[in-house]
């Protein structure tokens, strides 16, 4: 028994070491990083070969990810393990880990780079941090299942969808108060402030439309039918007029004209499309298929699925690295 104790201590120390080595996993720097929320792993895909080149452990339930404002690190938010992993956006290797961020489901930086906001979907709270130090400066309780977020252009407001209460909340980052809430529809999910900063689009997952909120007037001014399970809303790089909406249950992605507020095209994407990213030249979108455990690469010229790539279970957030020097 006395010999067993040091052996057990040694084993514990060994097991306590860092999880993901900081070295490159994919090697080429030409990667797409996918969060498999249902199995606590990260898939690293190669953009060129459109294959999964590595699958490494993450924290518990990684859902969303985003680059830091300086682009040097990619933050992976692990909701259930209350931490965030900072990884090399070119290759996926872990750089550091920040613990004590309560249930970071969706995260975002204000456009001025001053505030870092974390939505705790399971714990019904929104936390605001100093974006430089990650010290918490405000906590908003009693917000029912805060899901996604977007900011006003002047960084004064963060708009947060409240899934269970079907509302959009505006949090004033200057006064650190909930400024207002407005009912938008059942299962409010993805949030996007339009390019002109006039409207906020909210995907209504419990139905089949996107609510258009005039945030200065604090009211819903339109509803655009996109598809069942309308989930997330995305800007199109270089296109100030159209946005994309993923419809989880209809299994398609809608192109919505924000001027006419009409769906101009439906792109079939199987498997419950959720989050998506564009490649460097904007010719492809890479879409996570939440129900099919795959990532779909869609050609945005032909609107056909070019490739489906098997990944881990329940893939959610996705990041495609674009090398700024290329």
């Amino acid at each position: 028994m006395p010999r067993l104790v040091p052996a057990l201590v040694g084993l514990a120390l060994l097991l306590s070491t860092a999880l993901v080595p900081a070295d490159a996993r994919a090697g080429s720097g030409n990667v797409v990083i996918v969060l498999n929320s249902g199995e606590d792993t990260i898939s690293i895909l190669d953009q060129t070969t459109m294959t999964e080149v590595a699958r490494v452990p993450a924290g518990r339930e990684p859902h969303h990810l985003m680059p830091t404002p300086d682009g040097r690190e990619l933050i992976i938010a692990n909701a259930r393990s209350n931490d965030m992993i900072f990884v090399d956006p070119r290759k996926g290797g872990e750089i550091r880990r920040l613990r004590g961020i309560a249930d970071p489901y969706q995260i975002g930086f204000s456009p001025d780079g001053k505030w870092f906001v974390s939505n705790s979907l399971r714990l019904d709270r929104v936390d605001v941090y100093d974006a430089q130090t990650y010290e918490r400066v405000a906590r908003f309780r009693g917000l029912s299942t805060p899901s996604h977020m977007s900011f006003s252009a002047d960084s004064r407001y963060v708009f947060v969808s409240l899934q269970d209460s079907g509302e959009l909340a505006a949090i004033d980052l200057t006064t650190k108060e909930v400024a207002w809430k407005v009912a938008v529809g059942p299962g409010a999910a993805g949030v996007l402030t339009t390019e002109d900063d006039r409207f906020v689009y909210v995907g209504i997952m419990g139905s089949d439309y996107v609510s258009v909120v005039d945030w200065r007037e604090r009211k819903v001014v339109d509803r655009i039918r996109t598809g069942r399970g309308a989930h997330n809303v995305f800007l199109i790089p270089g296109d100030k007029r159209n946005v994309l909406v993923s419809n989880r249950l209809s299994s398609n992605v809608s192109i919505v004209d924000t001027e006419t507020r009409q769906v101009v095209r439906q792109i079939p994407v199987p498997g419950g499309p959720d989050c998506l990213v564009f490649n460097a030249d904007g010719s492809q979108i890479w879409v996570t298929g939440r129900w099919s455990h795959k990532v779909y690469v869609v050609d945005m010229r032909t609107f056909q699925v070019l490739r489906s790539i098997p990944v881990g279970r329940s893939p959610h957030g996705i990041y495609l690295h674009v090398d700024p020097t290329s």
């Binding site: 514990a12 060994l14 097991l15 306590s16 070491t17 860092a18 999880l19 249902g38 199995e39 606590d40 452990p57 924290g59 518990r60 339930e61 259930r80 393990s81 209350n82 931490d83 613990r99 004590g100 309560a102 249930d103 399971r122 714990l123 019904d124 709270r125 899934q163 269970d164 079907g166 059942p186 299962g187 997952m205 419990g206 139905s207 069942r228 399970g229 989880r248 249950l249 299994s251 498997g271 419950g272 939440r290 129900w291 099919s292 455990h293 279970r313 329940s314």
Partner: protein, 327 residues
């Protein structure tokens, strides 16, 4: 294993996209798409496990039965229990009940600056060793299952519920789920608590539950099967568990062979018996031999027995003396 998961995933996706999702949308509850999708996995895994268990264990029961019965109505009741349990009715109801509690618990911990402890976050390197991590989870769960089972026999009020499980005189592969619904609730609360204590993620928890389901179905089977003198000390066999169900071992305070997966706990805590054979199963008459002969009747009788136990009017357990004599 990868192929099995892929098949489960395909069935889950198809069922969700064509049946569950549209149904939720039609009834205006599509905000629960994610929860339903996750719950569906448990149902499909349960169904797959049930099919595999049936295909493996049922032929064994036909090949080498311990007993043969002309009237098998009692067995058919156990099939109902299995369907309710393995096809997600009970787990789904408990998920709806327990999920808000779990969320509040985590929020409370966070208010005190605490993060729920998890095995693989404390020892991150374990995440690169999923099989080793699973083995640890399995042993931890099995340890707590052993003690839950001992308490079921030790505490009079708990025995008043658990007696239904032991009242079966026609023990088959379906009998492992023959439990009072209140006992099921307690079991799941117990298991979820253990999952919280060790921080087992939902996927690991599901695998542990399926493993327990498979071994318990086999260990309750009406089959003459032992794993040998060494094997019976490594994994719970039909012979090992049949001794636990034997009439001579029944009773609130006594018994043996409580382990669910690994007999090591019985060996460690001196409750293992290897000196008995294939004995008749059931409970010695204890003054209240009626446990009901159908699902609903059994549920009602169980509640009445529990009420009597809680007010101190539970029938004395003559089996205690009988078991002492048997030893």
């Amino acid at each position: 294993m990868t192929e099995i998961w892929a098949l489960v995933g395909t069935v889950q996706q198809w069922t969700f996209e064509w049946v569950v999702g549209p149904f939720l949308f039609a009834i205006g509850e599509a905000i629960y798409l994610e929860e339903a999708f996750n719950a569906l996995e448990g149902v499909i895994v349960g169904l797959f496990a049930l099919i595999v268990i049936y295909l493996v264990v049922r032929p064994l029961e036909i090949w080498r039965p311990v007993e043969r019965w002309a009237d098998q109505r009692a067995v058919r009741t156990d099939v109902i229990y299995t369907m309710i349990n393995h096809l997600g009715v009970v787990p789904l109801a408990l998920f709806i009940l327990l999920d808000p509690l779990e969320r509040q618990f985590h929020a409370l911990l966070d208010d005190f600056g605490m993060v729920p402890w998890t095995l693989d976050q404390t020892f991150p390197a374990l995440q690169a060793w999923p099989v080793a991590t699973m083995v640890i989870y399995v042993f931890v769960f099995d340890f707590f299952e052993y003690w839950r089972h001992r308490f079921q026999h030790r505490l009079t009020w708990w025995w008043s519920l658990h007696a239904l499980h032991h009242s079966q005189t026609q023990m088959t592969l379906w009998t492992d789920t023959r439990n009072h619904l209140l006992d099921d609730v307690i079991r799941h609360v117990w298991l979820v608590t253990v999952a919280l204590l060790v921080g087992a993620p939902p996927a690991s928890y599901l695998l542990v539950v399926v493993l327990i389901m498979a071994v318990e179905s086999l260990s309750h089977a009406n089959v003459r099967l032992s794993f040998g003198s060494i094997g019976d000390r490594l994994v719970v066999s039909p012979l090992f568990h049949r001794v636990h169900h034997a009439v001579e071992q029944s009773g609130a305070r006594w018994g043996c062979n409580f382990a669910v997966l690994f007999p090591v706990w019985d060996i460690l805590f001196r409750t293992a018996r290897y000196d008995r054979g294939y004995l008749p199963t059931g409970i010695m008459p204890d003054g209240e031999p009626d446990y009901g002969d159908g699902f609903w009747r059994q549920q009602v009788v169980g509640v009445v027995r529990l009420a009597k136990a809680l007010v101190g009017r539970a029938p004395p357990s003559p089996t205690a003396d009988a078991v002492r004599d048997a030893r």
